[in-house]
């Protein structure tokens, strides 16, 4: 039985439609990440799941129970807010136990659960402080504690790490992942940080303008993006999206890419068929390799590359990024650090055709 099931959910404020026909279903223990650009409706969707915003259409089911008209307190959920929303006049301990107190849990149980959560999150020394006397990271922990102590069916997190500095964010990310594994909790997590999405999720929902673009595992989203928006949004540096022409020649698909100052680059794809005449070829930087004459890279089809003019070389420690121009677009390749690539000189590059995506330039949808 799915722990959360969203069916044809619609949300509008007056005439402004914010969410369009949302369908999501996750199993117990899933870590679902809602990701998308600012203003796409992630928080709104989370608030709809929580019952903090009434929905305009559709149903929400939690653990099999239809909770569409049920108030937040009866949905068996806990939530961590972007601003943490700690009660400013209460001590950390009171903040954490407030929910239990409201629900009439007896004092002994409260104390026991508080102690358990405090040690889990290592906030024992802070229990008597007020939220105003805590650092950002500590507040974040307290907010997590307030949710954990409830032991709900479903956890909802709204960008819980976005107010932390970069380093703390990375370490808290690891902690959240660990918590998820330890508790086997079901989590819906909102972020606009695609790295956070990739590292935490068991399933990702990519949204844009209130419409779901793709739902899938991190690997599916990364390797087989459903459209150009997803391809561009997930991954850093972003996937290269190169306009190209398709020709059928002797039963083989040949792809032609304009190359600056030279004849077009022609590569042969032995697998793909029935592509339209105009396509956009999507290839991740790490799937562009140095084409070595003798050594065949695994998965690299023969004739899937050629010499290109390198514009910029950016060494980045473990890797070196080489930027060239193909099809009128800058194209980044992620090469080994010891690569002999040099700026303003031609360099042989090959595409790993087993990993490329083809998109329709008209609607941006995936073709292969």
């Amino acid at each position: 039985m799915p722990i959360l099931e969203i069916d044809h959910l619609q949300k509008a404020y007056g005439d402004t439609h914010i969410l369009h026909d949302i369908n999501i279903s996750i199993e117990e223990g899933d870590f679902l990440v809602l990701v998308g650009p600012s203003g796409c409706g992630k928080s709104t969707l989370l608030n709809c799941i929580a019952g903090l915003e009434p929905i305009t259409g559709g149903t929400v089911r939690i653990a099999g129970r239809d909770v569409t008209g049920v108030s937040p307190k009866d949905r068996d959920i806990a939530m961590v807010f972007q601003s943490y929303a700690l009660y400013p006049t209460m001590s950390v301990a009171k903040n954490i136990t407030f929910g239990m107190k409201v629900r009439g849990v007896d004092k002994a149980t409260q104390d026991q659960k508080l102690a358990q959560v405090a040690s889990q999150l290592q906030i024992e020394p802070l229990l008597n402080r007020k939220p105003g006397q805590l650092s950002g990271g500590q507040r974040q922990r307290v907010a997590m504690g307030r949710a954990l102590v409830r032991d709900p069916k479903l956890f909802l997190f709204d960008e819980p790490l976005s107010n932390l500095d970069a380093k703390l964010r990375v370490s808290m990310r690891t902690e959240i992942k660990k918590l998820h594994q330890d508790l086997n909790a079901s989590i819906v997590y909102v972020t606009h940080d695609q790295i956070e999405a990739m590292t935490l999720a068991t399933r990702i929902v990519v949204m844009k303008g209130g419409v779901i673009q793709q739902i899938g595992t991190p690997a599916e989203i990364y390797n087989r993006p459903a459209n150009m928006f997803v391809a561009d949004f997930m991954g850093s540096p972003a996937m290269n999206l190169i306009p190209a022409r398709v020709r059928s020649e002797a039963g083989q698909t040949r792809i032609e890419i304009d190359r600056s100052g030279d004849a077009p680059l022609v590569i042969t794809d032995p697998v793909s068929r029935d592509l339209p005449a105009e396509i956009v070829l999507g290839v991740r930087p790490e799937d562009i390799h140095e084409a070595t004459g003798n050594a065949h890279l695994p998965g690299t089809a023969q004739g899937a590359g050629g010499d290109v003019m390198i514009d910029i070389v950016e060494p980045a420690g473990a890797d070196t990024f080489a930027v060239t121009h193909l099809g009128g677009k800058p194209v980044t390749a992620r090469l080994r650090a010891e690569s002999a690539v040099r700026a303003r000189a031609p360099f042989p590059l090959a595409f790993d055709l087993s990993k490329v995506s083809y998109f329709s330039p008209k609607d941006g949808e995936r073709l292969n």
Binding site: K73, M79, A85, Y87, P88, F98, G99, R146
Partner: protein, 310 residues
């Protein structure tokens, strides 16, 4: 008082201790400026304190001394007899019991009226700030409009209303009028204060299982001390000092102290007892003064709260 000292401090910091290059002439000019500033401030303070001084000294003089001495002179012989008379035996109209019964009328009127209007204002403000409902803006506009209705306009309908409710000429009637009139202001105060409290707090509390009143008492009320102070001071001053409603809606047994003061001052027969009048006036003004002295600091803080984060 507090605001004035703050102003002085700020002025002196800005204009007088700006980065100096060690020039002696500049230093001397600054000292002179500072003294000039003090002189002006002292002059203003004296000007404002003069009436109080005259009232206080006059109230401590005998009638004989008032007639012969100068208005500004200190009393040669201090007497508390006028205060005693003002409190317990001066004649307000035909009733010669001093201000005392009327003073208690005012207390009995002001305390509940302040308390009730503050509580209602807090709840109203809480709803307007955090529980948006359809038509909320219209309601709020209507309440705001209530702040600007002149007293005179409501006198007749209110008298009729009180008559219908059987509260005409009673202290509960006065309480009712003052509560109604105060709600506009108290609602405005609390609403403006509560909109600065982030909505996510309410959402968090809702998820935690708290309801409307639980959220109010556990989260909003503990944050409200500054604005409660503002509301109490404002309402107390308004209600205690009110004359028009007092004179219009009170009966013989329910007149507030302001009305009695007017009667005492106007109903002297023969020689005008200035000392008793002054003592009466001071007694009538004392409670509001006291409230300011005790809570004035929080008043200013409350008025500016929300505009400054922290």
């Amino acid at each position: 008082m507090t605001s004035r000292t703050v102003l002085t401090k700020r002025l002196s910091r800005d204009t007088l201790t700006t980065p100096q290059t060690g020039s002696v002439a500049k230093g001397r000019r600054n000292t002179m400026l500072r003294w000039g500033l003090y002189a002006i401030l002292i002059l203003f303070a004296l000007f404002y304190l003069m009436p109080l001084f005259v009232m206080l000294t006059t109230s401590l003089k005998s009638l004989e001394e008032i007639r012969t001495g100068s208005l500004l002179a200190l009393p040669r012989e201090i007497t508390f007899a006028p205060w005693a008379e003002a409190w317990s035996s001066a004649c307000a109209g035909t009733q010669c019991e001093g201000l005392r019964p009327f003073f208690w009328n005012s207390v009995l009127m002001a305390v509940p009226a302040v308390a009730i209007s503050t509580v209602i204002g807090a709840l109203n403000g809480y709803v307007f700030a955090q529980w948006r409902f359809p038509g909320a803006n219209l309601f709020f506009a209507a309440i705001l409009f209530g702040c600007f209705i002149p007293f005179q306009v409501v006198l007749l309908p209110m008298a009729q209303m009180l008559g219908l409710m059987g509260l005409a000429g009673t202290i509960p009637g006065l309480i009712f009028v003052h509560v109604i009139y105060g709600i506009g202001f108290t609602t405005l105060f609390f609403r403006n204060y509560y909109v600065t409290i982030p909505q996510e707090l309410v959402r968090a509390a809702k998820v935690d299982g708290a309801g409307f009143f639980r959220i109010f008492f556990s989260i909003f009320l503990p944050l409200s001390l500054p604005i409660i102070t503002v509301s109490v001071i404002w309402q107390f001053t308004q209600i205690w000092n009110d004359f028009l409603f007092g004179v219009s809606f009170s009966g013989p047994g329910s007149q507030p102290v302001t009305v009695a003061l007017n009667n005492i001052v106007n109903s002297t027969t023969g020689v005008k007892a200035y000392n008793v009048d002054m003592a009466s006036a001071i007694i009538a003004a004392l409670p509001t003064l006291l409230v300011y002295v005790v809570a004035g600091k929080y008043f200013i803080r409350g008025l500016t709260a929300g505009s400054v984060k922290g």
